[in-house]
């Protein structure tokens, strides 16, 4: 508060018809360190009163009929927190009674004190001090209201309070804007009168629920007409309810847009998946058909006319046959990979101790080398999918037996380790190993580390393993040293 405001707030206005009276009063006040200000006439008093003052002292003689009315009118325009204390110096007698009648118009709240002549200076000072104390309490209320207003104006939300009869007792600018009205058009009126379209809606029932059950209620509401989404919070009290309303239309629209985008993308993704399925179907059927013809005709040529061909011709035929076998394997691996990608997997408890030895016994590829596989039993159970696990085991065992330095006897060890609620299935071999620079890429599609002539393969096997492990919610890791061997570890949940 600036010093100027402070002095206006603290000043006591004095109106007395004779200069002597006024001077006397002012000197009493001055001695008591109360700031008095003399007013020349009723008009001057009202003008200064509007600017602000702590209290008013009026001599009875100054209160002509017109003056009382002017004063009453000015007092009626005070803000709600204000009730300026007025001290009237009277002489007693008939005139006093008449003035009192007139002043009763100020109502029961009129803050009027009578000071009858003759009085001692200390009586005047005491009366004024009491008036000033009362005025200071009013200033406190004013400051609190100011503070509340500042807060409520500064928030971006609409705020309103209602009394027990659902009448607006406070409305901030945002709330008025939301209702499309001015603040003064709302104050004192019932919310149901201001917004009759809300009666009977969820808004209506939620507000009643908050007040009747004295619970905080929060809901979203689509305002008709403006078509705006509102987030409404209702806080009950004994006096009524407070309503804090946030406009969440933008947020809602963003959500709707997001949902629409997600739906659209999902549709596109489904289409893409559908196309991919059609593609892999076509690969399995259409690409294989000419390949089969290549294989069959080269076979027939070898069978029927092989002996008529020179050595070189026979060698050409052999190359054709080998290439077509490789292509056939490539196609079936790509198909396996795409099946692993999209097949729905239901995870089950898998008995590795049964599955793994059975695979080694039954897979034709492992027959000549099965003595080279050492399984440390018992193997622990894992959560997985039998088909996918079979795929992983056969691919890893197959690789371990295949990628061995020439002349070296392959040796593969398989075991499981418990790791909290996980189980690790380990395949350790004595193979050629994988150089550190290659370790990251060997799990990708069509990745081969070794030239095609040296070791047979399509470069898809490990990609299938990685995908299958991922889809079983497991992890796959590799440690390898060139020339020493590799260790593949599949970690899965305990079965």
């Amino acid at each position: 508060m600036s010093p100027a405001t402070a002095s206006i707030d603290e000043r006591v206005l004095v109106l007395a018809p004779t200069g002597r009276d006024a001077e006397l009063t002012l000197s009493f006040l001055s001695r008591a360190k109360i700031a008095g200000l003399r007013c020349n006439d009723a008009t001057d008093l009202v003008a200064k009163l509007r600017e602000g003052c702590a209290a008013v002292i009026v001599a009875e003689e100054a209160l002509g009929k017109g003056v009382v009315e002017t004063l009453i009118a000015a007092l009626a325009q005070q803000p709600s927190w204000s009730e300026i204390p007025i001290s009237i110096i009277t002489s007693g007698g008939e005139t006093t009674a008449q003035i009192l009648t007139t002043l009763s118009v100020l109502g029961p709240n009129g803050n009027v004190t009578l000071l009858e002549r003759p009085f001692r200076p200390v009586t005047l000072v005491n009366t004024l001090r009491a008036a000033l104390r009362s005025r200071h309490r009013q200033y406190q209320v004013r400051d609190l209201l100011d503070e509340r207003d500042t807060v409520l104006r500064s928030i971006n939300d609409a705020f309103a309070t209602l009394d027990r009869q659902w009448r607006y007792t406070y409305v901030n600018e945002k709330a008025a804007a939301l209702a499309g009205l001015r603040i003064d058009e709302m104050l004192g009126r019932s919310i149901w009168e201001v917004s009759p379209h809300k009666v009977g809606t969820p808004y209506y029932t939620d507000l009643h629920r908050a007040f009747e059950n004295q619970v905080i209620v929060r809901f979203e509401y689509l305002q008709t007409g403006t078509n705006r989404w509102l987030d409404v919070r209702v806080y009950p009290s004994a006096r009524g309810v407070s309503i804090l309303t946030t406009d969440i239309s933008d947020q809602k629209r963003a959500e709707e847009l997001l949902e629409a985008t997600v739906a659209e993308r999902t549709t596109k993704l489904r289409e893409t998946i559908g196309e991919l399925e059609a593609f892999s179907y076509s690969v399995s059927h259409d690409l294989r058909s000419p390949l089969r013809a290549m294989q069959a005709f080269s076979q027939a040529l070898a069978d029927d006319y092989g002996t008529m061909l020179p050595k070189e011709g026979q060698w050409y035929l052999e190359r054709i046959a080998n290439a077509s076998v490789r292509l056939d394997k490539l196609i079936s691996d790509v198909l396996t990979y795409s099946r692993v990608l999209r097949a729905p997997l239901e995870l089950d408890s898998i008995d590795l101790d049964h599955l793994l030895p059975a695979l080694i016994e039954q897979y034709p590829t492992f027959q000549p080398l099965k003595e080279n596989i050492e399984v440390k039993r018992p193997l622990l159970r894992v959560m997985g999918h039998e088909g996918s696990l079979t795929q992983c085991i056969t691919n890893l065992l197959g690789n371990a037996l295949k990628f061995v330095a020439p002349g070296r006897k392959p040796r593969v060890r398989v075991w499981t380790e418990a790791n909290d609620d996980k189980v690790v299935l380990v395949f350790a071999d004595n193979g050629i190993g994988i150089a550190p620079k290659d370790q990251a890429r060997i799990f990708g599609m069509f990745q081969r580390v070794h030239p095609e002539g040296n070791y047979e393969g399509t470069g898809i096997g490990l990609a299938i393993v990685r995908k299958a492990v991922e889809r079983m919610k497991g992890t796959l890791s590799l440690t390898s040293q060139e020339g020493v061997g590799s260790e593949f570890r599949i970690q899965l949940p305990k079965g």
Binding site: Y281, S284, H285, D286, R288, S289, P290, L291, R292, A293, Q295, A296, F297, Q299, A300, D303, S324, V325, D328, L335
Partner: protein, 143 residues
Amino acid sequence: MIKTILLAEDNSDDVWIMQRAVKAAGIACPLQVVENGREAVNYLSGLGKYTDRTKYPLPSLVLLDIKMPYLSGLEVLKWLRTESAAPALLAVFLTSSSDRRDVEAAYRFGANAYLVKPSELAKLTEMLKSMEEFLLIHNQLPS
């Protein structure tokens, strides 16, 4: 009685391969060939040129490819089981598709077997030999 086999296959390479494999397998049954699904239905109904049953005898076994022009193998089978005069006829799929949906659908429509064509001639020959032995020699056929 001579048992005829009807092969529905649109790819002429595959027809040739089948004929060679049938011969290599030592299967004595005559092999009749139609090149699409619609022809298969015509043959089995005895329509058009197929009215001559001495030239085109009713087969004891139908071998169906899945993907064929006009009518697919699955559609031919559905027709055979529900609308034809010989709903009990042995029908076996011989196709390159190992797609699970094709396999499930084939059995749902009433296929007697589902075979995936091996790419090697020797394996195909072996497969046909055991198929003939089981279905046409040991097996009791419906009349």
